[in-house]
Amino acid sequence: MTYFITQFINGLQIGAIYALIALGYTMVYGIIKLINFAHGDLMMVGAYIAFFALSNWGLPIYLAAAVSMVGTAILGVVIDRIAYKPLRDASRLSALITAIAVSLLLQNACMLLFSSSPRRFPTVTANLPTISIGNSTVNVIVFISIALAIALMIILNLFVNKTRIGKAMLAVSEDMRAAQLMGINVDFIVSLTFAIGSALAAFAAVLYLFSYPQIEPYMGAMPGIKAFIAAVLGGIGIIPGAMVGGFLLGIIESMAKAYIPSAFSQVTDAVVFLVLILVLLIKPSGLMGKPEKVKV
């Protein structure tokens, strides 16, 4: 039982990370109907910025996380302005190919700049106490991560639902043209969405590094895909859906890792994809999604 609880808590932690990344996917998708393939790589860039802020500039971890969030947000907005904005009215395929190209660009640029050899993120959790559950211990950072992620999500939810700008975001995702006619500055909203999504990805990167302190140019790919699956699981384009989907996927993955015999350890990643396939087969609009109407 304690094993189950520890695995459950681990699942919540990784799920919180997926949820934060999935929020970026889902917000961008909700507004410009684009799967931003570069989102996972934005998380990777966030990890590098946090790493340099921490080890080269000697900033404390919370400042490093803030620097990383701001830096990644700016990068996200720049990417949108340069690569995606000219394609707003182009075909989905062109936009999708551009997103893949941006992802490749980030990966390869980081590889040339920082080399492909992984760097080790300094441990900031060494002095923190551990909490024992039965006969196993869990570092308190795990709980802090989960709490921080949830706090951030609550703030985001309040922002989106209560403030004027947040409501404008919802309006744009509902109908971009109508929102524009109502006097909403759509370009600003799109940029803001990219900024928020990227900042959340950077924050997720810092949380990710607490548990997996390895930084390399391809580190964003897998969490990126999994977070996308989490977004689809919860219902793509729906903000609470991404949160639920993220936590659920984290728990599923953690349980799969815990209970699938280690001989098949490489197959655990496949479990996550199985979730995607099942969602697409059974309820493609996701857990919290409503079936979409097709309009011409």
Partner: protein, 399 residues
């Protein structure tokens, strides 16, 4: 068969034979050394891959990010047959190519089931996941040789074989696109809602195109296995899929001859620029972004290098009087707006013609029902006249 059709078949077969005999003669006489011979074979294999990916991406309009995965399925199937069947080499190669195609097709069918029933970009994610999983699977399974891969596959792939397989591939894709089924596939690319409203079974035709595309990739994989002699799972990674995607986009989404052109250029270029390999993917990504912004349809767009282009070129070069160039021989490979189509035919200066130099058939139909319906549909929408390519017209904001 109409006379015109037979004539263009003959011209294309003659052209293919001419190209083949020139290159083959050069190979036999030793003008081309073994290094360039292997590049020639690689060009043919990459061309097959690019054409097959173009069928899924350029003609069907679905993004496939795991095409190297289907190639891997074909390659490993063919290699295992060659290594274990005990048949005579060429018999097992033939068997390998056929089974490779079939297994890749079956895999594509399974991969396609969840994604192709839906609207939206799910195929991109599913194939991306498939590309990752297939390498993991090959690495963990016993009979595929694990991470060490398969060794000692007989080197049976030579230039004539790959060349004629490429011709067959071109023929298959052209014949498909000219057929009723092909029209349906193009209609889906242009507007799946309109296609569905016209009574086209969208999922069925999406699946058809996707499975054929994967089968051709399986053929390319089988050829590759017997060209390289060694197979490792790492070879068929994400970047390899992206290589083909770059070739498709570079050559022109929907252009078969453009695919070949791109495969030739992008196969030779990395070989020439040795030491450029570190920057290759970086440059590819910048190239892709720039292409998407400035010329989203790729270099050739949906145009083809066709008989007409060469005839016109010949006329210009030798200043001959206009020969019998039947104006209505070609219909675009694309479903073009009526007005665009008319202007292009009227001005007569573009190579929209769908007929290529090789393996094609001409249907003297001007404006199929689908094209007309589509054209009117687009006209009625009338939202975006700025896009100069039909592909660019698909509205993204639409839900």
């Amino acid at each position: 068969m109409p006379k015109k059709k037979i004539r263009s078949y003959l011209i294309n077969i003659a052209a293919a034979l001419l190209v083949f005999s020139v290159v083959y003669l050069a190979l036999q006489l030793g003008w081309i050394n073994s290094y360039y011979r292997s590049i020639l074979i690689l060009i043919c294999i990459n061309s097959i891959m690019t054409i097959s990916l173009n069928l899924a991406t350029g003609l069907l309009g679905e993004l496939c990010l795991g095409h190297a995965g289907f190639m891997a399925v074909g390659a490993y199937t063919a290699a295992l047959i060659s290594l274990n069947s005990g048949l005579s080499p060429y018999l097992s190669l033939t068997l390998g190519i056929l089974t490779g195609a079939v297994t890749a097709g079956i895999t594509a069918f399974i991969v396609g089931i969840p994604a192709l029933r839906l609207r939206g970009d799910y195929l991109a994610i599913i194939t991306l996941a498939f590309g990752q999983i297939i390498t993991i699977l090959i690495r963990s399974l016993g009979f595929t040789g694990g991470a060490l891969g398969l060794n000692g596959i007989p080197l049976l792939t030579d230039f004539p074989l790959t060349f004629w397989m490429l011709i067959v591939t071109m023929y298959i894709v052209y014949a498909l696109i000219r057929s009723r089924q092909g029209r349906a596939i193009l209609a889906i690319r242009e507007d799946d809602i309109a296609a569905e409203a016209s009574g086209i079974n969208v999922t069925h035709y999406k699946m058809l195109a996707f499975v054929i595309s994967a089968m051709l990739a399986g053929v390319a994989g089988a050829l590759y296995a017997h060209y390289q002699g060694v197979l490792t799972p790492e070879k068929f990674d994400y970047n390899y899929s992206i290589d083909f995607m770059v070739m498709v986009v570079f050559g022109g989404m929907g252009s078969i001859t453009g695919s070949i052109l791109a495969a030739v250029v992008l196969t030779i270029l990395p070989q020439l620029l040795y030491g450029f390999s570190d920057y290759r993917m970086l440059l590819y990504s910048i190239l892709l972004i720039a292409l998407m912004i400035f010329k989203p349809s790729g270099l050739l767009g949906q145009k083809e290098l066709s008989q007409r282009v060469f005839q016109r070129l010949g006329r210009q070069l030798w200043g001959k009087k206009a020969q019998t160039v039947p104006a209505e021989t070609d219909i675009p490979t694309t479903v073009v707006d009526e007005d665009t189509y008319l202007t292009e035919q009227g001005s007569g200066d573009s190579g929209v013609g769908g007929s290529s130099t090789r393996g094609q058939e001409n249907l003297p139909v001007s404006g199929t029902p689908i094209a007309e319906a589509e054209g009117k549909h687009q006209e009625r929408l009338g939202l975006d006249t700025q896009g100069d390519e039909p592909l660019a017209r698909k509205q993204k904001g639409r839900r």
